[in-house]
């Protein structure tokens, strides 16, 4: 049979295999063909995998920040260009245990630091809706691959918005789960109090299916906790759901009118489906969130990236000097501009004389953000806003201005600081490009996000296939 990978959901693919209407080998061949047809242009994959045991079941693509035994894992960096993990990350293992097989490793901004994949040492990925535009980042490879039918689903990782924002820009569904629900064991670390792995899919139900596979406590990651059973959403109404519209997240400077209009239409639909909608305030979370993030995340990154010293693994640039000179020249040659900026910023924020004013103060702001969201969730089950203030921007548009790039995550960062789950679902087009709706819940409310996301997805009836590929 002919498989249209642009339309096929993972749930459909599982059904086809279970009914015997398609073999895993046929599925893999169809995705390989799509990759062959489109990846030269979109550059979503850094490494392709031909599984020796043949295709076991449903294919998946993993962001190249996720360690895979025997398969090169670069984190988008030259410093890990030849790094081949000798063990599987817990999420990669859980995918294997569920019968999923790896199609390849997807492009990412170096060490997941960026909002466009333009910081990848291996060149940017492109947006399948318009290849002159970015797919978002850091997980732009995963998001673009799913939208372009090159993988039925994928995993990403989200520190400041690296799952939600690319899903918004590529028009698919991305979940950043509650902090502590998905193991980071074997995943390249960026900012450990923020990093979470999560699913990128075409539909909310696929997202719940994949979240069910990867989530749950892992003794190899002591930050993980027991997770409530994942419920596949089926209800198509929102009766009894209390929806909050945080003014600051919906009226922030820089939100494009076309983005606001698409979100407004989704809110009107939510009300038609029976949701009770009211506005609320997060006065300091949005105003101070970005500054708070750009102190805490670089501080943690400067510590996590200290491990790249050219001793145990990774690049070594031996300039004939002593150990310290070798380490410093290794790191200068191996890291690109963005990791260097963040290492420098984080080292400065943690250094003697500046620690209290920068890092210490940012940790207190983080408490304030958590309290504001907790207060909002006394009144509401979910909060809605745009995921990204803009639709996909042009390649090169923000690369010379780091602060402009950082603003891409201004709406995803505040809930991330509080460890909250958020899902982005496509809610319409603006100038022919997808707009994402961010649905934020209290900690461990993934089932609520799936329910709300599914009902809205049905009502919105958004076509996730990029117009130019239909």
């Amino acid at each position: 049979m002919t498989l249209d990978t642009l339309r096929l959901t993972a749930e459909d693919a599982i059904d086809l295999v279970e009914r015997g209407d398609a073999s895993p080998a046929e599925l893999h061949a169809a995705y390989r063909a799509a990759i062959g047809e489109r990846d030269d242009e979109l550059h979503c994959f850094l490494t392709h995998v031909e599984e020796a045991d043949g295709a076991r079941s449903i294919p998946i693509a993993l962001k190249d920040i996720i360690g895979t035994k025997g398969v090169r894992t670069t984190a988008g960096s030259k410093i890990l260009e030849n790094y081949v993990p000798v063990y599987d990350s817990t999420v990669a293992q859980r995918c294997k245990d569920a019968g999923l097989s790896l199609l390849g490793k997807t492009n990412t901004d170096e060490f997941a630091m960026g909002s466009s994949t333009e910081n990848s040492a291996y060149g940017p990925s492109r947006n399948p809706w318009d290849p002159t535009r970015v797919p978002g980042g850091s997980g732009g490879g995963s998001a673009s691959a799913v939208s372009a039918g090159m993988a039925p689903w994928a995993l990403g990782s989200d520190t400041g918005g690296s799952i939600k924002q690319p899903s918004s820009l590529c028009g698919n569904v991305g979940l950043r789960p509650t902090y502590g629900t998905v193991s980071r064991y074997g995943v390249v670390a960026f900012a450990s109090s923020l990093d979470q792995v999560g699913p990128v899919t075409k539909t909310v139900r696929d997202n719940a299916l994949l979240y069910r596979i990867i989530s749950g406590r892992d003794e190899c990651d002591s930050t993980t906790v027991d997770v409530p059973p994942v419920e596949l959403p089926s209800a198509e109404d929102l009766r009894g759901v209390r929806v909050g519209i945080p003014r600051e997240l919906n009226e922030a400077e820089g939100i494009e009118p076309g983005v606001s209009a698409a979100v407004q239409r989704a809110l009107a639909l939510a009300e038609e489906l029976g949701a009770e909608i009211d506005t609320c305030d997060l006065p300091r979370s949005v105003e101070y969130g970005l500054a708070c993030y750009y102190l805490i995340a670089p501080a943690e990154a400067s510590s996590n990236l200290a491990r790249y010293d050219g001793v145990r693994y990774g690049l070594r640039v031996d300039n004939g000097g002593d150990y310290y000179a070798t380490t410093a020249s290794t790191r200068d040659a191996g890291f690109g501009d963005e990791p260097k900026r963040r290492i420098m910023l984080g080292t400065y924020a943690l250094s003697a004389g500046y620690y209290e004013a920068f890092y210490g103060q940012a940790q207190k702001v983080r408490t304030v953000i958590g309290r504001e969201f907790s207060a909002a969730f006394e009144r509401f089950d979910v909060l809605l806003s745009p995921t990204s203030p803009t639709v996909a921007f042009k390649l090169g548009e923000r690369t010379e201005n780091p602060l402009a790039m950082y603003l891409a995550d201004v709406l995803t960062i505040p809930p991330n600081m509080a460890g909250l789950p958020g899902i982005s679902i496509p809610c319409g087009l603006s100038a022919g490009l997808p707009v994402g709706l961010q649905i934020i819940g209290p900690q461990f409310a993934e089932n609520t996000l799936f329910r709300v996301g599914h009902a809205l997805e049905r009502a919105l009836d958004f076509d996730t296939v990029p117009e130019r590929l239909r």
Binding site: N82, V84, V86, Y87, G180, S193, S222, T223, V225, R284, E287, Y288, L290, A291, C292, Y294, L295, S302, A306, V311, R312, Y313, G314, L315, R316, G321, D322, Y323, Y324, A325, T327, A328, R331, D332, F335, K340, R341, I343, M344, L345, T347, Y348, A349, S351, A357, F358, G360, Q361, A362, Q363, K364, V365, T367, V368, G370, P402, L403, M417, G419, Q443
Partner: protein, 94 residues
């Protein structure tokens, strides 16, 4: 509060980055712009607010203290730039 070239050099040394001259100059400019933006956190009086270091209330996660096999040495060294028997080989430190 501008960060000086000397401070950038000092931070680069702490971070073990051997930055070139052009990189130093460019980074100093960019760091100044970023520091000005993130310095916004100091506008708030938060003397009575406790810091958050971790978003969940999880404390003292312990595992059973039972021995189990670790990775074979050949695996451990498979990504190492230089090996000397059962050690990582590095340049001299003095």
């Amino acid at each position: 509060m501008a960060i000086s070239r000397e401070q950038v050099l000092h931070v680069a040394k702490l971070a073990e980055l051997d930055l070139g001259e052009d990189e130093l100059a460019r980074l100093a400019d960019q760091l100044n712009a970023i520091l000005e933006a993130v310095g916004k956190v100091s506008e708030l009086d938060l003397s009575d607010v406790p810091p958050t270091s971790h978003p969940l209330d999880v404390v003292n996660v312990l595992r059973a203290d039972e021995p189990r096999p670790s990775l074979p040495l050949d695996d451990v060294f498979s990504n190492a730039p230089a090996r000397d028997d059962d050690s990582f080989r590095v340049p001299p430190s003095a």
